[in-house]
Subunit: 104 residues, 2 copies
Amino acid sequence: MRRFGQHAVLKDDMIETYTALHAAVWPEVLEVIHACNLVNYSIYRSGRELFAYFEYVGSDYEADMRRMEQSEVMQRWWTHTKPCFLHHDRQEYYMDWNEIFHLA
Amino acid sequence: MRRFGQHAVLKDDMIETYTALHAAVWPEVLEVIHACNLVNYSIYRSGRELFAYFEYVGSDYEADMRRMEQSEVMQRWWTHTKPCFLHHDRQEYYMDWNEIFHLA
């Protein structure tokens, strides 16, 4: 199992939109996330800053992430979420941070 | 089970110290953390920013946190970690962020 911690920043005027989207994520998005072997997925927010924590339980993370990117459902979902991010011209909205400590 | 996501900021000149401390956390500190019912505890870092994720599996979080604060081991450990934080005059170094999404 691999763990990930990722940070992102929202546009100030899109905080409510992003929060509302995540209070009612489409069931088919949740299905794709699980199909791509991501579990225990949480997103935290303070102001316009976001931090996501999730666990990967598959055997090929890069291949599963490519599958997720190619998923029609996710591409449709991202048309709603991507405009919320401050760095909307960047390829990756959530950036990996380094794990400096872990206790099971 | 309750999940927590918390953010903190280090002093620029204490980033290496804090990282080194967490690469070799004292075994007795790990024991106290488990005794206080915290599990799956990760800390992520980018620059001087930290984000901690952990899960609480006990039945009285506030009481367990008070026990942790009163632990002699933790008080000794914190004499090393507390000077690393930017807001060293603040009572809490790690601040809770709000969970806006969770998928088991």
